[in-house]
Amino acid sequence: MASSSLVLTVLMGVLLVAVAASLARLEDWRSYTPLSDVGGALGERTEHGHEEKPGGLVRWFTTVDHKDIGILYGVYGAIAFVWGGLAVLLMRIELAAPATNVIGPSLYNGLMTSHGITMLFLFGTPMIAAFGNYFIPLLIGADDMAFPRINAIAFWLLPPGALLVWSGFLLPGVATAQTSWTMYTPLSIQMSSPAIDMMLLGLHLTGVSATMGAVNFIATIFTERGDDVGWPSLDIFSWTMLTQSGLILFAFPLLGSALVMLLLDRNFGTTFFTVAGGDPILWQHLFWFFGHPEVYILVLPPMGLVSLILPKFSGRKLFGFKFVVYSTLAIGVLSFGVWAHHMFTTGIDPRLRASFMAVSLAIAIPSAVKVFNWITTMWNGKLRLTAPMLFCIGFVQNFIIGGVTGIFLAAIPVDLILHDTYYVVGHFHFIVYGAIGFALFAGTYYWFPMVTGRMYQKRFAHAHFWLGLVGSNLTFLAMLWLGYGGMPRRYATYLPQFATAHQIATAGAFLIAISTLLWVWNMVVSWKEGAKVDTADPWDLEETGQLTNDWEWYEQQRDTPVPATDGGEPDDGQSAD
């Protein structure tokens, strides 16, 4: 013990010295000129060199530029997506036959936990933040986010968070966390693996990150809008990000507190959620009070992306813009009143159940308003079926299936039968992959030319869409069948009569995997060697009067010569078109 302590002390000393040395290399502390007063946090320094950022890797490790941080978020989200996808592929392979054939139940449970948490916290939320970071300042005409350093801190909290969440897989000899993403007590208190503690810490860090990001988005949208961007002309994506950030602000600190309580129960002998002395159901209340708004935290910005992108390729403005904004706000408010619909079978008071059922059903109304407006936008439109548009249409289609199956689950009598079956799994996967995932893909294709200056490969993108659409519907419809048949969630093995539907689901999962490979390949290769876009308006938005601020920024950007060459005035008459 004493010697290991000594080793740790030396290691920490070395780490501190290394950090101090690298800081001293990068930063001259004496150079800080005292500013006149507090509050001059950023943007006040007028004199700077020709280049805005240092070169090489140092740029990426020290950047506080919203576009760089957006790209970092995106790369991070893609890596997490691959991890979560590989986890579920292993699970689906195991589920191709009823018995234990490929991986054991404990590895299955570990992968399942990792898949859920990775997709929701390490892929979904950061991928949305990627779009928010890169494009919100451009859309609202801001120079940067309101708090650039907090922005960087929020991002850099994520990689250590991911390592902690995955620690059970990364550390030899430590059992994986097998609590599933809901971490229900008392199981999550009684499992002794330190991987669970580390997962809770990692989740806590990602929660801190999301909260910091939310504060930043709210401050940015309120205070940094350009002179020409008033509230009435605020774009729909910013509206949804603003609402989402508000939800984060109320939901994530609660998750953080509940996680700390769980950590205290596990390590410090408290009894918040224990069977003896505490109340395991309290955890479910706290968790779902966060967890249900989390669903809308994940879905609102993708809805905003669709509301932004779909009209661009329908050749007309979004139908009923105001109502789409109102429905966004309505969903945001209602989302805090539905959490107990996850708990209909826990034996809570039937009168409470009824009220939660009513509010849950009520959420269908603003959701239906959105669908109505999207389809009405398309109805009289002239559609251009580009990859981003296809993904938007896929979003609407999958969202209808996911939404309608959800309405049934909101009804207590139906839920009592289908609770904890694959029906639930099928329902929410239609939303989280079929809708949210599709909208995020739409976003990557839509802005690809702006971010990279190149065009993606159309053939791959369309193949990605069709494979993803067929794959997701195969997989998730099969899950709905399994649920009607009574197959319970979260098992590595099952009765032989479920084999066919499970095999369909596995086949569909592989289609999704192939489609995702196409996406990754397309993004990487096209970024490196795709055809350069020769115009600042690759989607011909000007024709239909839909050129938004982000594309105008892009046009200016293209017209401005690279700062390294002279850093002076833009060349007159040299614009690309």
Binding site: S314, G315, F319, A368, V371, F372, I375, T376, T377, M378, W379, N380, G381, K382, L383, R384, L385, T386, I393, V396, Q397, I400, I401, V404, M455, K458, N473, L477, L480, W481, Y484, G485, G486, L495, Q497, T500, A501, P538, W539, D540
Partner: protein, 96 residues
Amino acid sequence: MSEPDTRGRRVVLWMYASAVAVSGLFGYVLGIIVYGDGGGPAGPLVEGSGAAYGSVGPVTFQLNPVNLGLFGVVSVGTLLGVGLLAIVYASERADA
């Protein structure tokens, strides 16, 4: 990137048709997986042997693949059809 224009109505009608078709298919397969092809019990939801019956209002029908498929087509077709009619109506009023 230039794409040929497609009329929005065509795409929307295709979405409608495919949704109705998928729900028909869904009901059909549900009949096979849960209620057994032709009325024999197969899925764990089914209790006892022999055919199972369901009813919507006054109409009672046997739970088999064809009937469930039909149920899917009719119910989803009506539900989404009403929504589609509302969209057509709203579009005519707003875009006239």
